[in-house]
Amino acid sequence: MSDLLAIRNLVVEYPVGGGRHVHAVSDVTLSVKQGETLGLVGESGSGKSSLARALLQLPPPKAGAVVFDGQDLTQMRGQALRAMRPRLQMIFQDPIASLNPRRKVAEIIAEPLIVSGVSDAAERTRRVRAVMEAVGLDPDLVWNRRPHEFSGGQCQRIAIARALVLEPSLIVCDEPVSALDVSIRAQIVNLLEDMKARFGLTLLFIAHDLAVVKSVSDRVAVMYLGRLCEVADSDSLFATPAHPYTAALMAAIPVPDPDVPLGDTKLKPGDPPSPLDPPSGCRFRTRCPHAQPRCTDEVPPLRQIAPGREVACHFPLTA
């Protein structure tokens, strides 16, 4: 499979006054293959949402390249960038907040068509109806209703329909099920899987719930404080985590089985450092049980340790 999206040396920083910056994403290189789902995992402050927005140029990153289907989006402006936008869509965490409360459902889903220049109203109606049916909304029941009349799960269906209506190649899903009730999550996860198969989509699936990520992702990338820790096939990452942070994350997951003993994260006590002032060298070293002097001095580069497996650690667990 070829790369649909290649992110190279991406840097996202936000000024916070006094000449200081939040180092949200630092030198991240990552690719998403055509037709795959890449899971992106990390805690708050890891930079996963900043990365997602930067690759959609919302806003453009401070440095680095975002090559989508052979073209570097960071070098495109105005009309050229607008022409690419229909191919990249996004679904947000809070489905109710991401929908305009004053618009009718049909208008919300049709809006991307209007923006991208589909001027034939009959054509728009046909496409909106088709996409509503695809996501499990009955067009005759929902057409003239407004978002507040729907539950969170139904609103997420509307948001998915809006993302699909332009027939995109890539959808960035930023925590698409974490605001939903437990009994609704599986419906939306299954819907995303169905849509991916039906429309030949490529997904970047950002979430902090590792079980959900494992369920949908072919490969998984783990971020910590703005840097990538590890990238691997989903199955091997979960079977044998190579980065101590990945191992800690997995041990920390509350498993819904009382017979599974609580895992040992082996983390040093303390909270994650601030992305305003990240530690030198390896950013995880202040909490890492295996940290050595070298980890303070040298940033561990992301390197391949096995086919399809990359890790940014001087002392990976599976070496």
Binding site: E43, S44, S151, G153, Q154, D181, V182, S183, I184, R185, A186, Q187, V189, N190, E193, H208, L210, A211, V212, K214, S215, V216, S217, D218, S234, D235, F238, A248, L249, M250, A251, A252, I253, P254, V255, P256, D257, P258, D259, V260, L262, T265, L267, P269, G270, D271, P272, R287
Partner: protein
Amino acid sequence: MSGQPNMPLLSVRNAQVSFSTARGPLRAVDGVSFDLHEGRTLGIVGESGSGKSVLVRSLIGLVGESSGAGVGGQVLFEGRDLRSLSPREFRSVLGTEIGIVFQDPMTSLNPVMKIGRQIGEGLRLNRGLDSKAAARRAVELLNEVGIPEPERRAQQYPHEMSGGMRQRVAIAIAIACAPKLLIADEPTTALDVTVQRQILDLLQGEQRQRGMAMILITHDLGVAAGRSDDIMVMYAGRAVETAATREIFRSPRMPYTEALLRSLPRLSDATHTRLSAIPGRPPDLARRSGGCSFAPRCTYRTDHCDAEQPPLTMVGGRGYACFHPRGVEPGGAA
């Protein structure tokens, strides 16, 4: 504790909470009963709108007439009926014998009061400590909940701390007066998973060391599985299943519990394993039917389920509100 060894610390009978809305009365909690014994942890599990938070808040007076709610039922704490106490007596019980930790420490802490003073406040008001003694004790408590440099931290304000630190402070406040019952309402939902782990370890450690009983309200079945002795599952304002934690997970009786457990993605499943989703969504509480609230989503539904609301049936130490319980022979006991 009192003379009767088997008397529960907390006994709730037929708790009711209703709100009046433009569309008519909404019964958020509809006849829930449970007992909690000393030193035990009860996990209350449910989705949003299941009534789990409203139930517990009504027990401690945070939801009541002042907030426009109608509250009914009986709440016995160490045999005393909390609802018959004067406001003054009730405040004293709340401050000293029941501690509470909320989901968002940023909103539960006072933003303009130094942390040490907030922790010491209860000790001054309820335990008669002078400011100096209260301040000393606050530093000890900060140390106990795992905050480094407690003397310096005691002089800080909540905004100077991370979310995990703030929740540690909230726990220090809750345990300051050595309560017998600790209520934790989604205590880690706002936190990252590695911090969540530390906070749950802290809560459980304090609970064991101090012999407190705990009510742990959570929507996360993983958290409930690892941290509670017993579980009460709520759906649409009612308790639909109660049992020892292991029994709930091994052999759920209520089809809702069973469906919920089956719908969870598991790390042991291969990637792209299809999830068994529960169709439909929780009911609108303002438009209750006469039957089982879960019936419209239930695989085992019959006409009986639509016609009549199944009562919580207690069999062999566990309870379920279902006419077609799983793992029980028809017509026989478990």
